[in-house]
Symmetry: D2
Subunit: 346 residues, 4 copies
């Protein structure tokens, strides 16, 4: 089999370097080019010495769509509002696109514009784009040319709620997602708020009155539930680099349900969702560096609630790893190829 | 005025050293004696070099009730099940007791035994004991001889929910407290689970199916609401030393309420509860080392919910600081004496 | 006695907020005004909620020398190259200046220009300026109008080496200072290198071939030794916010010396240098939030070396605390006034 | 080729779980059995959920030499003083032994007893044992049946000093190793000193007057230099889990030497030593999870010193990774097999 030829748009940030780390251990991937305006001409292993010995001939080049014509697939690891400008040309060249940003995640262009504060460059592609959550949309991903890779919070939250919603077991107006995230989710931009001296030894909530991932999650959950779902979503920033811990609450319609059996059955054949034994509490480090979403479900009988604890590595299952999982599906490879390593612990 | 003469039972742990730190800057306090079985004979400033220059003549002595007869008040900074064995003798000697442990927090002895796994040594004192949350029980504390200092989670949670419950604004069956705590709350005992290498760069929930602070909180909230309150409580461990962040959810009976005004009015005259401006997100570091509980309230109109963010330093307002606040009240001192310093930030 | 009236230039950074924290607990200090171009008009307690309740009427004002005429003393908590522009006008108004920056630390203007890359605005004041290390220059500080507050590394290193050099016990060409610093020393500027995700779980050296504090330290050590001293200086960045640990090596001229007695005698009457018992290893947290420099000395007989371990809080003894100590000396107050609190531990 | 059949003695600690993580991605390794007295009968993936999906049939068994007869090689990831009791029986069964502990690192039994405080169980094997630092002893390792895997500090320090010593460029009495280590090096034992609340936001030296790794390092350096080497060694504990940063100082005999060229040539063909370009400062995270030792060398002309910055992951190149590298060499596999993944960053 030939290697898949890969282009990367904007690979200087944390999802970019994580993508490079994971592709270095993928047996069927070859990175042809990587672009960055700010770092053009610089060797990738000079910016990231952790990659020395793995990409010694790769340097950042000036972004310019022409580069990508020889690629089979392009990953866009860019801020919101960039990838949508590349999508049409890539389609014209028959190059697949897996977009890490939010550009193609919301199918309603007006809703997208409201949350992201700009006009969409190609709203006609929104319906074509497939939302890249394999556990929900595997079939569509297989045939997709344009995949919107889910956000980090949306992945942990949707995988946590899905079994309850698919089987109609909970009040769809009662959902609460109290999420705790590492700081790498905020990216590598120079911002006072993300300085070590601002973050260490402190915890706080943010965007309690509205976070951009909320409409994405509600769209996904409504799709799974097949009815409109409303969710309260409160993200918190943790003094750690990697990891998301989603603590999910939902009111059960009945206490007469075996949640443990439900979750185990729902995810029995999934390579990247691991349901822990009853009574467990997953810690984020147990998935560090891996593409696993690890879930525990608790039945709070007294309050007739389901409590779901869902953890992931925001840079892997919440970004670069899930993107590779999508690539594997799109190109007919084994889904777990290059992604089956254990977590780095401690 | 004469100094208050103070005894400390078991001051080798984190609440003990924090009590010593705070008392060193209290203008009317004098530590007469401190006991510890394991460290008897050792200078306090040898175990804690951070106290060098402040308690140079103080050494740990063998615990034995006789020591405390000359004290005005004794603080018990001991594990659960110890202080209850000292209570009667202290009463006989007319020495007040402020207990950091859970021994006198639950007024129902059977419920206490169920959660703490032992018989209570003096159940007859449970009704005498005053629950030391000044914002709720200030009058009773003034006359108390035996104060049960509240737990760390219970302080942040009760102060956060109190205005809603006192005014009957929420469904008392809908409360959720998603709490995030620093590791110092787990104490200074040698435990693998609290090693740096187990905690750093990771987040997890624990005791999701039942934590000892739950009956304490429900008892307190029911008292405030004047009806039985049920709460879902999920504690999480953070990779930080100090701080609790309580994220509180409650379903409002009506959206026709001004939550910001409610909270500001409720706490207008409290020296140690600080209600932030509308739209705020308190961070735990903003109260590090202080006796402040800092609160922000958000009205989630769409889901008709109140969202309360409540932060404290678990070792201060959640333990040693609140104990000193109680002492100040019990001895007729200015309530904020020795406790009015700003937070250590960054 | 009247309060000392204080102005602060540029108080938005970490040394600025630390200065405000410490002045809040100083019994004879009153902050009249604080300036900041970027934050003018904003309440100090809005930028730093940790200060709520302490400076509620204080807001940042536009920098403009006129403000300070009513002050007794001005602290400049600014980047290098700013304070030197205020010095002459303050002198004309008979307002004392304590400068946190490097503007007046190097007495040789040419050497200063070489390391700081600009012309000095008032080289004639360099000789007037007193280097504000009280343990060395207390007498001159008492009469000074312009004090150059020492850098953070220079304080820990000079206090560590001083007893050896003053008594001529070591080869002055053999000194090595291997220093470990918390990140707050790098300030609150938005820089990728100081992001949490860049710093946590990592250690590295920086500026191994030359750091601006080296000429400052060598000037100070040469002054103490009364002969030219040369030192190898390698600073390292630690994944912590506060604290400096200086590990100091020097070749002894003879093994026939009692280093422990030497250090204890040298610092016997110093309020802010604490020599630990023989065999100790100070940790930086033991001085967190305090003005103490804590020192242990080890005699490595086999290699005929002195090993000195010197720790401080870079924002206190390394900046704002030492500045207040200098203020106390300059105004004839008790030297430890407002600075005698124990460390925050854990 | 057949898989190498592996036994592990004592695999519950951090070097044990790291060994399992690395072996899971080794294409020619098969773990037959793993022993632990305290955890016998427990599934490995129950103790370490991070390994779920990788060792689902592996459980800890009672230690008892008989288990290992079917193995090709046994790794001892045990405290000092255990492996030496297994060595003879393994030899009798023709099973190779790679020992992570110090039992076979010091060839002088009396010196070993002095530092480790016990009698050696099989001093006659000390001369047979090969010190497993491949960059120095590759030929001997190839034929060895008993390999003493080097300590974490010794690996970083010896690799850092080796080029200078081998070429006789420095004064062998002038060496200083100022080392900074993550806490995982102290193991997973329950110890107050290693609690999160003791370690975070603090730095300190320890064992300044003598650390067990000193004789090991001096023995190794003397072997490389072919003359007795004396070194000052001061280890420090960092608030991080993984990583060692060794800062090495040595007095050059002459300034007329090109250190950069020397280091590049010395390590040109080494798969796991990476010499950075001139002027670099390696950070420990750049090798996190990898078997790389990354080195920068600086020539301090003024003081005629070499300054070497050497970083490694203490659990990989400092323990489990180097052990696998040794296994690869001993069994004639490609030396980098299973070890060529990039670092986890951020």
């Amino acid at each position: 089999m030939n290697n898949i030829k890969i282009g990367i748009i904007g690979g200087t940030g944390y999802t970019g370097v994580e993508l490079l780390r994971l592709l270095a251990q993928h047996p069927a991937a070859e990175v042809l080019c990587i672009t960055s305006r700010s770092e053009r001409g610089r060797a990738v292993s000079d910016l990231y010495p952790s990659l020395r010995g793995h990409y010694d001939d790769l340097a950042y080049s000036e972004p310019d769509g022409g580069h990508f014509a020889a690629c089979d697939v392009v990953f866009a690891a860019t801020p919101n509002g960039i990838a949508m400008n590349y999508a049409k040309q890539l389609q014209a060249n028959e190059v697949k696109l897996i977009d890490f940003s939010a550009d193609f995640r919301i199918s309603d262009a007006a809703l997208w514009s409201k949350w992201y504060g700009m006009e969409h460059a190609c709203p006609e592609l929104l319906v074509q784009a497939v939302y890249g959550l394999p556990e929900v949309n595997r079939k569509q991903i297989r045939k997709a040319n344009l995949v919107a890779n889910p956000g980090c919070y949306p992945t942990a939250v949707q995988l946590g709620f899905a079994p309850l919603l698919q089987d109609g077991l909970v009040d769809v107006q009662s959902l609460i997602a109290d999420c705790k995230s590492g700081v790498s989710g905020a990216g590598r931009g120079a911002a006072v708020a993300n300085l070590f001296s601002e973050i260490n030894e402190s915890v706080r909530a943010y965007n309690a009155m509205g976070h951009r991932h909320q409409p994405e999650i509600e769209q996904g959950l409504s799709h799974i539930a097949n009815e409109p779902v409303q969710m309260t979503f409160v993200p918190h920033l943790m003094p750690m680099v990697r990891g998301i811990h989603a603590t999910l609450y939902a009111n059960l319609k009945s206490n007469d349900v075996d949640l443990q059996a439900l979750y185990e059955a729902h995810y029995a054949s999934e390579p990247f969702v691991d349901v822990l034994p009853a009574g467990s509490h997953p810690d984020t480090r147990s998935v560090r560096g891996t593409n696993i979403c690890r879930i525990a479900v608790h039945h709070l009988v007294q309050s007739q609630q389901a409590l779901v604890l869902s953890v992931e590595d925001n840079l892997v299952k919440g970004a670069a790893g899930q993107a590779i999982q999508n690539m594997n599906i799109m190109f007919g490879l084994e889904e777990a190829m290059g992604l089956d390593l254990p977590a780095l612990l401690p």
